[in-house]
């Protein structure tokens, strides 16, 4: 039934639908061709995977600015392990993911144990790990991986379904399960809603924060692996600015910057909107700089809507 409540509750999906229609018309149908849809699913996979960890972090009213540099570092380290150190592909992936989770834990120590505001702590680690990635790679690209490494980013199941998209769907299912079906998910909402009350109710808030930042690091690491496999070459600039795209997806998906509000389904819509927007603009031959302007505006609008809805309620 198309009433006001339905429109309000599903606004994000309607925006996505409108976007599809606009780009489909503007591109004479190329945008909705099977090949382009597969292409979009590949493009959004690493945003989507990284957005899951970011959702958890924003739900507790924190932020993780380091995920772009985690993606870069995982790219470089995994490539270096496989090419320069001759480590087996699966071992290199495992080491990289453990390292990414470890970086998440370092962020958690700074935020939860030391008490540095998340914005500053993760900004510091962003700078540090971006520098480390440069130091390892010497600023040069690393290539020449085993052809099997394409499984994470270039291979498809049944010749049409990208494995990276399947990986993203699995990650979203896991994220959704954590949020809706586990105690930890309840704790995330509780901490985001009222941290002090959550602590008094018996939740070990600091421990939960460790877990959340570890998740954020892990998912960013996995996104880095997918990106590396897709590009087939490691670059020390690959993750630069990616955190803003991911934050845009999450906030656009309805996760409030005030904490305690949001769902994984909304984030999926946010990821699809940003992925389609990027793809549509590429099809329309929009320059990269204009794309940056558009994405920045989308972030501002998404946060603005969140703030306006709060203000409207205040009146």
């Amino acid at each position: 039934m198309l009433n006001a409540n339905f429109l309000k509750q599903n606004a994000i999906w309607l925006v996505f639908l409108a976007e599809i229609i606009i780009f489909a018309i503007a591109s004479d149908g190329t945008f909705i061709s099977g090949r382009n849809i597969i292409n979009i699913s590949r493009q959004v996979s690493y945003y989507g995977i990284a957005a899951i960890g970011m959702t958890f972090v924003i739900l507790i009213a924190d932020i993780d600015l380091s995920i772009g540099s985690i993606i870069t570092l995982v790219n470089v380290v995994c490539a270096w392990l496989m090419v320069a150190a001759g480590v087996n592909m699966w071992v290199a992936v495992a080491i990289s993911l453990i390292m990414a989770t470890g970086i998440g834990l370092i962020n958690a120590v700074m935020v939860a144990a030391v008490g540095i505001p998340a914005l500053i702590a993760t900004f510091a680690s962003q700078t540090v790990f971006e520098g480390v990635a440069y130091l390892i790679s010497g600023g040069r690209p690393i290539a020449g991986f085993d052809s099997d490494f394409g499984i994470f980013g270039r291979w498809s199941a049944f010749d049409f379904l990208p494995i990276c998209a399947i990986l993203m769907i699995i990650c979203f299912a896991v994220g959704s399960f954590i949020l809706n079906k586990t105690y930890f998910g309840r704790y995330f909402y509780a901490i985001g809603g009222n941290e002090e009350a959550a602590e008094l109710s018996g939740i070990r808030v600091n421990r939960v924060k460790y877990l959340i930042y570890a998740f954020s690091g892990f998912f960013a690491g996995l996104a880095g692996i997918v990106l590396l496999s897709r590009a087939n070459s490691a670059q020390s600039t690959v993750g630069k600015g990616l955190e803003f795209d991911v934050i845009t997806c999450v906030v656009l998906g309805g996760v409030s910057v005030y904490g305690g509000v949001g769902s994984m389904s909304g984030v999926i819509a946010g990821v699809l909107i940003i992925g389609s927007l990027t793809n549509g603009m590429i099809l329309m031959d929009v320059s990269e700089y204009t794309q940056m302007v558009v994405k920045g505006l989308v972030l501002a609008v998404a946060v603005g809507i969140d703030c306006m809805s709060k203000k409207r309620r205040k009146r």
């Binding site: 509750q9 009213a61 924190d62 932020i63 505001p117 998340a118 914005l119 809706n180 309840r186 909402y189 509780a190 809603g193 009222n194 941290e195 002090e196 009350a197 959550a198 008094l200 109710s201 018996g202 939740i203 910057v257 005030y258 305690g260 509000v261 769902s263 389904s265 703030c307 709060k310 309620r313 205040k314």
Partner: protein
């Protein structure tokens, strides 16, 4: 004795409340004791004090906002009703004690709503004004009581809880009454 009982229901610290309870009941089973056990006992680690009802105060607004998984959410709200003893057949005295225990839980929740972190935005960078805190507090209290009861058609079952939340909110900050009424009106629309 009456003075001690009043003090017991006004005290917010669970350990002090336990000591008071020992003084009042002296090892004899009572409904107060049952309520205390239900509310503060951490089932997996009995030596740790938790506050299940305070957790419900923090968690119920989240359930109110859920757009999907409505059946699962209804199950959770029904579980909360059971945990609040709201389906038990109680005599007047027990009902009064349950009401006072609920008010105590809500008061403990409200005691955290003046903290600097509460209702802050932009990742803790922007602290909330008193007005913003009252607004958020009213919204949270409304969602955890009348809001969730109305969404899931459980007004009758949750009526005692709703009354306790409302009474405690008004005692906390009288100006919240107007905001609360506005939320009621908004919901009706």
């Amino acid at each position: 004795m009456e003075h001690q009982i009043k003090e017991y229901f006004e005290e917010l610290n669970p350990e002090k409340r336990k000591a008071l309870l020992e003084e009042i009941d002296r090892d004899t089973p009572s409904f107060r004791r049952e309520l205390y056990k239900k509310r503060f006992e951490f089932r997996r680690k009995p030596d740790r004090i938790a506050d299940l009802w305070l957790f419900k105060c923090v968690y119920l607004p989240g359930l109110y906002r859920r757009k999907f998984l409505k059946k699962a959410t209804l199950r959770e709200v029904n579980l909360t009703i059971d945990e609040f003893f709201l389906r038990e057949k109680l005599n007047d005295e027990q009902r009064e004690e349950l009401y006072l225990e609920m008010r105590n839980a809500v008061r403990r929740y409200l005691s955290t709503c003046r903290s600097a972190k509460y209702a802050s935005s932009f990742f803790g960078l922007k602290k909330a004004t008193d007005e913003e805190k009252f607004q958020r507090t009213t919204e949270d209290i409304w969602k955890m009581s009348r809001g969730i009861a109305r969404v899931y058609g459980l007004e009758k079952e949750l009526s005692l809880w709703c009354d306790a939340c409302y009474a405690e909110l008004i005692a906390y900050e009288p100006s919240c009454e107007k905001l609360f009424r506005e939320l009621e009106e908004d919901f009706k629309k």
